[in-house]
Symmetry: C2
Amino acid sequence: MNDVKLTSTLAFRLGTLGAVVTERFSARLAGHGLKPKHIGLLTVLESGTATSQLDIAKLMNVAPSLVVSLADRLEELGAIQRERDLSDRRRQTLTLTEEGRELLATCTAAAAELDSELTDGLDPEETEALRSVLRTLARRNGLPAD
Amino acid sequence: MNDVKLTSTLAFRLGTLGAVVTERFSARLAGHGLKPKHIGLLTVLESGTATSQLDIAKLMNVAPSLVVSLADRLEELGAIQRERDLSDRRRQTLTLTEEGRELLATCTAAAAELDSELTDGLDPEETEALRSVLRTLARRNGLPAD
DNA sequence: TATTGTTATACTCTATAACTATA
DNA sequence: TATAGTTATAGAGTATAACAATA
């Protein structure tokens, strides 16, 4: 007889906690008319790992057509700049503007606030252990490693 | 100057890892024609915290109409039984069948397998620390605590 | 012909609103 | 009149497919 509970697996806990946290993060973004994927795109540009829309789509694991609409919105807000690549005029090169960096900083502050709420009451060692292991898991699963 | 990266916040890491893990779990469920929410409903029934469809909807934070379609599918598979509450014939009482328990056990095994993949290569202490702190976070955020 | 970006369309998931039956 | 469940409808989010410009 196996009495391991599905709800106590890491998979279940990461999935459900991830959904709760993403939901709360979204709520804080709502004022800007942005969704998590918009911010994901900004973080890609900040990291410098991709600049053309197609490369960004591959990196984010989303359809190229989605990058079009995310970029449309971010350009409209003045957070990014879209420029034709002069050496290959099919490509659009996206770059963060100063306003985009400020927006990203605002979102980072919101995320940091969420972190505080999440870890409030945890032992400092627990919090640090969590940060450490999540960094490892991120790296090993193709997510931004920093 | 603040150089904290959004991508290294707990909020970002939990959100993205949660999405990756949920996606992988979904892939393993696909063969049964089920999605994570179906399994979520099964875990509610197993826990005994709710039996009427409305109570289940509240507990899962989803619309009552969604519970109808989730239950339709699970009933079709023989995983749950739907019975009118005799003392209040408006209510449908959902119960896990033996087949439902077996299905849940299969899904639990799939999740445990995912856990192994995730933690393969981690120190045992790291893995245990992760389990421990995720349990705490789950409890503090209204998720199944066990 | 192949590739990048765009537009048009469709699909999945889920909520809201209208409805039925019980209370 | 209020509540549990159901059905009908609509919206958000995203993918796929068709298309245009460039290579």
